[in-house]
Symmetry: C2
Subunit: 375 residues, 2 copies
């Protein structure tokens, strides 16, 4: 921003209660919306459409730029433990983090349905800023589009993220080897069960809250504690089952996990039993799994546990479950599945009952429950 014509913060310049098509038209109404709701909160560095950025990390020889994107369409937009804005920041930050990148900058693009409440937008944007501060990243550029009533579902947010992978760091699902061990961070299914309950159309009453949070610092702590880590995946859409299947496919290594060791709250188990869902397929926003060479795991990893607990939002539900293991360890048992090797269809298996844990079929799950949750 130029000093001579510095833009003084203009609070509450936007008088409308709801977004109209004029707010997407490229004119004064749009600039008022952008400056009052977005620029005043995100405080980007300049007045240009593009962000202009520098980082010494990027200039390091051998460093790689990491780049990722996700659209967020969660319904409801606000739910216990978070909202679409918090997920949009954490989701993209975590996609960078589990690939070994240090997240630096985010873009945020909003598709707004005509009639969307300005107050809701303000809350979502404030939540994004708070999540970005928590994650140590900056939201540096953005866009808004307004579509007619009925052409969107109130609000969709798409974030893209840029980070830096330090020289020499290489996390990849393809590197997983037979005999590795895998760990799962956090408790599973909290986010998915929260969204199902928050939709309100299943008459569920629980005090579960989404555990949506940025994982960059935790990931750095894990890499520092266990430099041999081969890969990490966040267990978002499709749950832990999908994450493990992706690893199995990329590495052509069969995965077996011990179901009894998986960390699940009693409330989440209850929701799943009631709805006939498998918690392994429930979406998560906090937990991820990673894999290590066996010899290097046990010795150093527990150091990370206090970090996780510190970072965690202590809802009453969380407090009542503090006895949950910080890390649950599951063996990646290893032998490449000969029948499928090379065809990338190797599946994760659950050790307890040896049932195949294939990629989820959402339509099947949804139809069974008469509802479909966008998580």
């Amino acid at each position: 921003m130029n000093e001579q014509v510095a833009l003084t913060p203009r609070v509450a310049r936007l008088r409308a209660d709801r977004v109209t098509l004029a707010h997407g038209g490229g004119g004064k109404a749009m600039r008022d919306l952008i400056e009052d709701v977005f620029v005043s909160t995100f405080q980007p560095d300049g007045m240009e459409d593009q962000a202009r950025l520098q980082s010494a990390l990027l200039a390091e020889p051998g460093a790689q730029l990491a780049f990722t994107t996700d659209s967020f369409v969660v319904q409801p937009i606000e739910f216990p433990g978070g909202d679409i804005g918090r997920i949009a920041v954490c989701g993209t930050v975590n996609d960078l983090a589990v690939g070994g990148a240090r997240p630096l900058w985010l873009s945020a693009a909003f598709i707004i349905e005509e009639g969307c409440e300005v107050a809701l937008l303000r809350r979502v944007v404030a939540s994004m800023r708070a999540a970005a501060d928590e994650a140590g990243v900056r939201i540096v550029t953005g866009d808004t589009k307004v579509v007619e009533r009925g052409a969107a579902d109130r609000l969709f947010v798409t974030t893209a993220g840029v980070g830096v992978i330090p020289p020499g760091r290489m996390l990849s699902a393809e590197r997983v080897q037979p005999g590795d061990v895998a760990i799962v961070n956090g408790v599973l299914g909290d986010h998915g069960a929260t969204i199902l309950a928050a939709r309100g159309d299943m008459a569920l009453e629980t005090d579960i809250a989404s555990d949506c949070r940025p994982l960059g610092d935790l990931m750095e702590a894990v890499i520092a504690a266990a430099p041999g880590v081969r890969c990490a995946r966040d267990a978002t859409r499709g749950g832990l089952a999908s994450a493990l299947n992706e690893i199995a496919q990329a590495s052509a290594v069969g995965i077996e996990i011990e179901e009894a060791t998986l960390p699940l709250r009693a409330e989440v188990k209850g929701v799943c039993e009631l709805l006939g869902l498998d918690p392994l397929y429930l979406a998560n926003e906090g937990p991820w799994c990673c894999s290590f060479p066996k010899a290097k795991r046990g010795r150093r990893l527990p150091r990370c546990a206090p970090h996780r607990l510190d970072g965690r939002r202590r809802s009453s539900a969380a407090r009542s479950n503090r006895a949950m293991p910080a890390w649950s360890c599951a063996a990646i048992s290893g032998q490449p599945n000969r029948r499928h090797a090379g065809r990338r269809t190797t599946s994760a298996h659950l050790l307890k009952e040896k049932r195949p844990c294939s990629s989820p079929d959402r339509a099947r799950i949804s139809r069974r429950n008469g509802a479909c949750a966008r998580t």
Copy 2:
């Protein structure tokens, strides 16, 4: 991609004609959609969720990373001269280019309405690949989400772009000075008039086509020909009027343009007269304006003209208008508007009739015409 387990291209693995909720569920159906439609066309480098990239340009001391994003919600999705995919690539490439960056990499996130035709998706994705090749950029990472029928309007695309601004290059609207001259590239309003006509609800028959195209090479040619260029803006949403107003506000310099010199096709003028629209407010995807110190303009700029004509799609409408000036020159007349200086409300004025050319009020324009075009 790891050599040992290279993913062989699987063509037509996806058998569905239309996208279902299962294609957004995180499981096998989603992977089939992504691999068959997106990965097979964009051919990203690896199997990870994030792209990992290196560029010698980024490592140059003093180079800046440019980062921008835009959501695209154009209706209809396909129109003469382009489609949502072509705009999504060109729009983000051009946002980088007019800021002086060399566009390198794009992300692409798709929000798909349940029931959207897979064939349409394939056409849009192929069009994105073609536009990316034309622009010399790569689409390196992406995301898909599927929402229920009625929760979106078939297809929304959000792209983010990363580019590099070479050391020492500084284009900014704030640098515009009294006495500068501005030029406008291309003919105005083709894209906006095309979309209005293509919506079909106004019974317009024209052979205008969108001039949507990547401008990176042209921008580099302009900077090479006229190193003194101070700023450039693409005249997209809100048209040339909005672009000039943004420059006027950022620089606190009043702008007067000579309306008679603005390049407009007879067809576009006709559509505007019929609908009571002002062509200055029509959206563009090709044209942009830029400003230069006066002494440096006249001498060297015409060199760029052949470049523009080469890059242009030669539709029959374009051929019939080849007498159009490649560059139209309009003076930025200059005196800071004292009444408004510092309040950033300085407006562009049209020289011909001295009518104020303020930021557009889309609702007013739309209501007058009983329709609203998302461009």
